[in-house]
Symmetry: C2
Subunit: 392 residues, 2 copies
């Protein structure tokens, strides 16, 4: 007498979380310094000074105001601040009415899909992809259609996406800088994708929304991250401050419905409706006001850049194959056997926690989160060497 779908979803093994939990246990057993935990994307860089200061300011004020309800789409001043930041940072005129503050990117994507899709529609994701895309597509009553990225660039395969688009396609989720691969979609790729989508919209006589999931926008190593709404009108941006401000557990982000859509206001209304339907009242108020004070605060990407150098150089020397990451803090490494799950299991024997690519819809790779202590990366190299040797 419970909902079987929800039970199955709650019961479904989550490899990333399982590995993380195994790591906790293993660290207790043999000491944290002896486990090389590359499992989870919990930023290791502390939140910038601005965050601490903004929290203190909120707490020094009137407590009734500090913790009050805000309107569901967010505190009007916060929505204004975000819209004006979008304008300043991307030269893209944004109105506060099309900004909806959310409890992180997760709720942003769940709400967006429920707002723009009809049950029975299809949502396209580019594999490898964040596994919850499938869950949220199902919540909106949709099927998730996987389209593999081009290999080895891991850019969108525009021809394959075009082939996957049909009468039921209502949205395509893109994630650049990308989790799990670290690819950043080039202006060329995005322009080609946009042109194809515009043509398909015309051809099929239906809207195809580009949902740009962008929590890693600020974490790059030199690559340009084009602003998607400036390339494709029917874009909805789902942003999170989890990574850029190192606030993953606080759950704060936003939806921006591009003002270039003539019916942006109606779509924002559907977004507000979907937020209600999924049980949201407002995003956490103190966090709303904290991030409004810290928009555009550069996060300390230097640490991640150093980790990236150290890890890629070390693995290259050992003969591992990987995708050179241009953004985010993940390294996508070729498993040393076709079965990535078996490879991940074997790596555990060397105290290396690597997430098998099966969790992201593809086979034969593992994901390493390198938002960890530099020291852990250094000390893990002999383990990677032994792992490699075990396959000789």
């Amino acid at each position: 007498m419970i909902n079987q779908k929800m039970f199955d979803l709650g019961d479904e093994p989550n490899k990333i979380r399982e590995l993380f939990a195994y790591g906790m246990q293993r660290k207790a057993e043999i000491g944290a310094q002896n486990v090389f935990d590359y499992s989870i994307g919990n930023p290791s860089v502390p939140a910038p000074q601005c965050v601490q200061r903004a929290f203190e300011e909120q707490l020094a004020g009137d407590p009734v105001v500090a913790h009050e309800y805000t309107p569901s789409p967010g505190d009007p001043a916060v929505r204004r601040a975000i819209a004006s930041y979008i304008e300043r940072a991307f030269g893209f005129p944004a109105t506060p009415g099309n900004v909806y503050v959310t409890s992180g990117a997760s709720s942003a994507i769940a709400i967006t899909l429920s707002a723009v899709c009809e049950p029975g529609d299809e949502v396209i994701a580019i594999a490898p992809y964040f596994p919850e895309y499938r869950t949220w597509a199902h919540t909106a009553g949709c099927d998730l259609v996987e389209v593999p990225a081009s290999v080895p660039s891991f850019q969108p395969d525009v021809a394959a996406i075009e082939a996957a688009i049909g009468e039921r396609t209502s949205a395509i989720i893109i994630n650049s800088p990308n989790n799990p691969v670290g690819a950043v979609y080039t202006r060329g790729s995005l322009t080609e994708l946009s042109a194809m989508l515009a043509r398909k919209e015309e051809e099929l006589g239906r809207r195809i929304f580009l949902v740009a999931d962008e929590p890693y926008r600020e974490i790059t190593y030199g690559a340009e991250v084009p602003y998607v709404p400036s390339l494709y009108a029917d874009t909805i941006v789902c942003y999170s401050f989890s990574k850029s401000l190192s606030l993953p557990g606080e759950r704060i982000g936003y939806i921006y419905v591009s003002d270039r859509m003539p019916d942006a206001q109606a779509i924002s209304t559907a977004v507000a409706g979907a937020g209600r339907a999924l049980g949201y009242i407002c995003a956490p108020v103190m966090l709303q006001r904290v991030i409004a004070e810290c928009l555009g605060t550069p996060s300390d990407v230097k640490t991640y850049a150093q980790n990236r150098e150290l890890l890629t150089q070390g693995l290259a020397q050992l003969g591992y194959e990987y995708v050179e990451p241009e953004g985010a803090f993940y390294l996508w490494v070729r498993a040393l056997e076709p079965d990535a799950v078996a490879f991940s299991e074997r790596a555990k024997g060397f105290e290396l926690l690597l997430v098998p690519s099966d969790s992201f819809g593809v086979q034969g790779w593992v994901r390493l989160s390198y938002c960890i202590a530099r020291d852990t990366i250094e000390r893990s190299m002999p383990a990677f060497r032994s792992l490699m040797e075990s396959y000789r």
Copy 2:
């Protein structure tokens, strides 16, 4: 090309929010002191000292830890603290595995209904009721069935509930202390309700869950608030700290699946699945740890008790009919004409903002939130007098 249901939901007039927005505008026009705003349940009592202290402790610690992800059902230490509080406060043995920390009672109820109902089921609410119950029932694919409370006690009408239960009934939502009426369900009422439900479960061969929505548990004026799981095994408690700790905009609460159910663990698994489906990753981490430090901290009910006295005595003298509130901070007042919307409109002419009962599924009453400044209540009395006189 958007989801019409979500658009309609986003576009639906919300009387409480509309009146609140009207109040903001009116205050700007004629001065805040000239508007008597009884529209919204934003606690006027500041959060207790404990909350401020707990926030400061979090912020003084390691920022990476302070803002980290927690497991989806909550920080294990927080779940343990809540379970042990339930045991201490209600003498009810609770295990941490059946506590799921949420973004307030709203998400708790939305998640619970999605977890235990199948599409096509019915959920019963006792009118007058919080209007979002209907929205969340619909999200779970269910119909909401309204059963009027007994008048004038506003206790559950057990015979009427029994008559409404059928082959599709999967849950009944109760809210005591009650918004909007202020009634507290007596031990007698709840025992009678529980006995009837147990009998109906047997008779129909299906589970009927009692969903106890309890954000006002600690706000009472002497009445006992029995712990529902101790009366009825198939109870799921949806709790929020919004009112008891004056943190409405922070979104923090929990679901407790009663350990008296033999399959409590399976239901908790479905709860976790529903949380994933609706886009939740974890409840805001700092808030989780703040409330864990402040469990059982008495909120300052004295202020609300004084407001209640002042308001009820004043209105009684003027000849208004109302329900004597035993909990929460709402007064349920009989409109002076059958059409509560028209009455609320007329009241606006006297700068009185009163929510018509139509929002809560019944006609002919208005709701007054008295979690406001004492001074506002005092100064509103001449307006209530004039409103009364306008009907003579």
